[in-house]
Each structure stands twice: as structure tokens, then as C-alpha cells.
């Protein structure tokens, strides 16, 4: 507890440069979150730490910016009819349990193997989950693109059809996003896994959104919007837990929020211009790039644990910087695709409107 208090007292000094930096990172993170329902957090935490913010304060402050951001994003996308509040809250509750369990595992690993052990666990989780889920999402998006059915309605997977066909009396609930009744028992492991991932790599949506699409049968747009409800529920509980220990640097959280609210509004607007499969494209690309970023750090932690030959300081520095740069690139690329798709959609709409107008004149 003494360590925690000492760490909490160590809130950094903020100057104009730091504020601008956090605002910009917040904006880009918010833009991606508004579009795919999550993301951004994996860059925000290391970005804060690069300013000298202690790890726990960075995680806590990130969490405290996440829930108000998710709230604003969810309200915005609810206006477009994309949010399934019931599904979000039900998944959010089991996700909260997942967060607590994930944080407990983290603490145990840290106690037994130190910081390097904990970092190695996080990186390996990143690499395995992003490789499996990210690869699957990207493959699905590619298949949709190749089949030329990007305009068509999304197909419900066989697994989701099976889940929707199971009837367990007393547990069946209707969800508007699925347009079907499913047993809430299926939502528990999915929410739990989302929460565990959020506690481990800070982005639960990388499991939450694909599981809603592929396991439950929700359309991409609704899954990504509903993820914002889950993020709100998880973020609120998590923030309170960290605030109880005095770990939230509210200045950092609100500065990031200043940028991310501009971003999340724009990202949410963007979803109305694109074909649903673009959600999968952006999510898959970010996941796969981040996977490489974290993969680069695995040898660093293995070396710190003495499991491989010790790496030189220069090598470690190069790997760390490259890893951070790749992570930032993932976010910037994701944001660029969102903005590009939005721009194209906006232009197409204007042209269509002009054609209608000209046709009307004739």
C-alpha cells in the first residue's frame, strides 16, 4: 500500500508540450474507438508512461478517460440505431468479473516473476490473441472483399446459428442486435474473456467485438457500437477501484478525454458512411500490426528473466522504440482508413445528391 501511495503522489508536471501530445494521442485513439468500439488504449498507456507517468497511474488514468469516452460514443451511436444496450450491459457485467480476475492474475504474476514476468505475460497474451482473432477477422474481411459481397447483408456464422438454436429454459433473452433469443449463459464466458483481455492488454474489444459477431451473430456495426457499452461498464467499475487507491491522475484523464471526445464523435459519424465490413478491416489491420509491435518486446522480457542471452542496452532501446513506433503506426493507419473511408462515403453521397438534383431539374 505504501508503494501505491508513493506512486500516487508522483503525479507528473504538465506543460504545454505534454498537454498537446496527450490531446493528439487522445484524438486518434478516440477516432478509432468511435469506429471499431475499442482501441487506442494500447497506445495511450505507453504514451503516458513515456512522459514519466508511473505504470499504475497510467493504467488508472486511461481507465478514467475510457468510461466517459465510451459513454459519449455509445450515446452517439445509439442515435444511429446501432447500440444493443441490453447485450452491452449483460456482457459488461461478466466483463467486470473478468477485469477483476485478470487484474488478480497480473498481480500474482508480478509477485512471483517481477515486472519482466508480468510484461512477458502481457506481450505473449497480445501476440497469441491478436494472431488468432486478428488473423481470423482480417481473413473474413478479405474473403468478403474478394467475393464482391461488401454491399450485401453480413452472413451469420454457423457457430452463431448454433448458439441461437440452443434453448436453455429460464436463461433465454431476446437481443435486438441478434434479432434472436439466446441463452445468457453463452454471454458469460465471452464477457469474462473481454474483461480479462481488458485487464491484460487494455483493449477488451479485440475479443468482445469479434465474439459478438462470430459467436453470437451480431452485425459488425452493432457489435462495435455495443462494445462501447461494455467499455463504459468496465471502465466505470475499474476507475472506481483505482480511484479508491488514489491512483487516478484526473488531469491526464481529462486532457486525453478532451482530444478523444473530438475523435469519438468523428469515428461514430464515420460508421454511417462505410460498408459494415470496413469495421472488420480496420480492426483486423490494427490487431495484426500491434501483434508485431508486442512480438518485438518478447525477447527483451525473456532476456530480463534470464531465459535467453542478455541483450545489450542499445538493442533493448532499439526494440522498445521500434515497438512503440509500430504501435503508433497501427493507430495512425487505422485512423487514416477511417478518415479515408468517411471522405469517400461523404463524396459519394454528395455526388448522389447532385445527380438527384440535376435529374429533378430535367
Amino acid at each position: 500500500m505504501h508503494d501505491i501511495v508513493r506512486e500516487a503522489a508522483n503525479f507528473i508536471n504538465l506543460d504545454a508540450m505534454n498537454i498537446t501530445y496527450l490531446f493528439i494521442v487522445g484524438f486518434v485513439g478516440g477516432l478509432v474507438s468511435g469506429f471499431i468500439g475499442s482501441g487506442g488504449a494500447f497506445v495511450l498507456t505507453p504514451a503516458m508512461m513515456s512522459l514519466g507517468v508511473p505504470g499504475l497511474v497510467a493504467v488508472a488514468s486511461n481507465m478514467c478517460h475510457k468510461f466517459p469516452k465510451a459513454l459519449v460514443g455509445a450515446l452517439k451511436r445509439a442515435k444511429y440505431g446501432q447500440v444493443d444496450v441490453k447485450l452491452g450491459i449483460i456482457l459488461g457485467i461478466s466483463a467486470e468479473a473478468g477485469v477483476l480476475y485478470g487484474a488478480h492474475i497480473q498481480e500474482s504474476i508480478k509477485k512471483s516473476f517481477g515486472d519482466a514476468g508480468s510484461n512477458l505475460y502481457v506481450s505473449v497474451a497480445f501476440v497469441i490473441i491478436l494472431a488468432v482473432v486478428g488473423g481470423f477477422v482480417l481473413r473474413d474481411a478479405w474473403k468478403t472483399y474478394r467475393s464482391g459481397t461488401t454491399h450485401g447483408e453480413e452472413k451469420v456464422t454457423k457457430l452463431a446459428r448454433w448458439v441461437q438454436s440452443i434453448n436453455i429454459p429460464g436463461t433465454m433473452v431476446y437481443f435486438k442486435s441478434l434479432n434472436a433469443r439466446i441463452s445468457v449463459l453463452f454471454t458469460i464466458p465471452l464477457g469474462f474473456a473481454t474483461g480479462m483481455l481488458a485487464a491484460t492488454i487494455a483493449v477488451g474489444g479485440f475479443v468482445g467485438v469479434p465474439s459478438m459477431i462470430y459467436v453470437l451473430g451480431a452485425p459488425s456495426l452493432m457489435a462495435s457500437a455495443t462494445e462501447l457499452v461494455i467499455a463504459f461498464v468496465m471502465g466505470l467499475g475499474g476507475s472506481f477501484k483505482y480511484a479508491m487507491h488514489g491512483l487516478v491522475d484526473i488531469r491526464l484523464a481529462m486532457i486525453i478525454l478532451a482530444g478523444s471526445l473530438f475523435g469519438i464523435q468523428l469515428g461514430a459519424i464515420g460508421t454511417t458512411y462505410v460498408k459494415p465490413f470496413m469495421i472488420k478491416v480496420v480492426m483486423g489491420i490494427i490487431m495484426v500490426i500491434v501483434l508485431f509491435s508486442r512480438g518485438l518486446m518478447v525477447p527483451v522480457y525473456l532476456s530480463q528473466l534470464g531465459l535467453i542471452q542478455t541483450l545489450g542496452d542499445t538493442t533493448v532501446k532499439i526494440l522498445k522504440n521500434t515497438s512503440f513506433a509500430i504501435m503508433a503506426l497501427a493507430l495512425i493507419l487505422g485512423a487514416s482508413i477511417v478518415l479515408g473511408a468517411m471522405w469517400k462515403g461523404h463524396r459519394a453521397e454528395r455526388e448522389a445528391a447532385r445527380e438527384v438534383l440535376e435529374h429533378g431539374k430535367i
Binding site: A8, K76, S239, A253, M254
Partner: protein, 85 residues
């Protein structure tokens, strides 16, 4: 579940200005009292409700400002009705 979004006819310039002023005021208060803020917010315990309350207030005010900001700039949801099923 058809989304019925589209462009509003009138741009909310007044709302933008009011929310913008309140939002800036909130940030000025927060950043010009960093010593007091850090002291209180790092105490933990029951004071935990403070950062949560602050986050809610900022999200309402700044959220409204940013929404109006893009609307006034003419960046709005697609006009067409989209079936989100």
C-alpha cells in the same frame, strides 16, 4: 432498427459557443489548480467518487461541445437511411 439519422437544418452555433465556454472554463479551473487537485484526488478512499463525478461532468459538457463542433463544420452522419440489422 432503421437508423433515422440525417442532417439537421439549423446549425447549433449558439450551443457550440455556450458549451465551448463552459468546457474551456472547466479545463482552466482544473489545470490552474493542479496542486489542490493532485492533493485531493490522490487521497483515495471515499474521495474516489470525485474523479468519477468530474469525468461525468466533463463528458457531458465537452461531449456536447465536440458533437456541435463537427455539426457546425458540416461533418454529420450520412443522410441516407441505413438499415442496421
Amino acid at each position: 432498427m432503421a437508423g433515422t439519422y440525417g442532417r439537421s437544418r439549423k446549425k447549433p452555433v449558439g450551443k457550440l459557443i455556450v458549451m465551448g465556454i463552459i468546457s474551456i472554463a472547466l479545463y482552466v479551473i482544473l489545470l490552474s489548480n493542479q496542486g489542490v487537485v493532485n492533493d485531493y484526488f490522490s487521497r483515495g478512499g471515499l474521495v474516489a467518487f470525485l474523479p468519477i463525478a468530474v469525468a461525468f461532468i466533463f463528458s457531458i459538457v465537452h461531449g456536447s461541445f465536440t458533437a456541435n463542433f463537427w455539426t457546425v463544420l458540416g461533418i454529420e452522419a450520412a443522410k441516407r437511411k441505413k438499415e442496421v440489422k
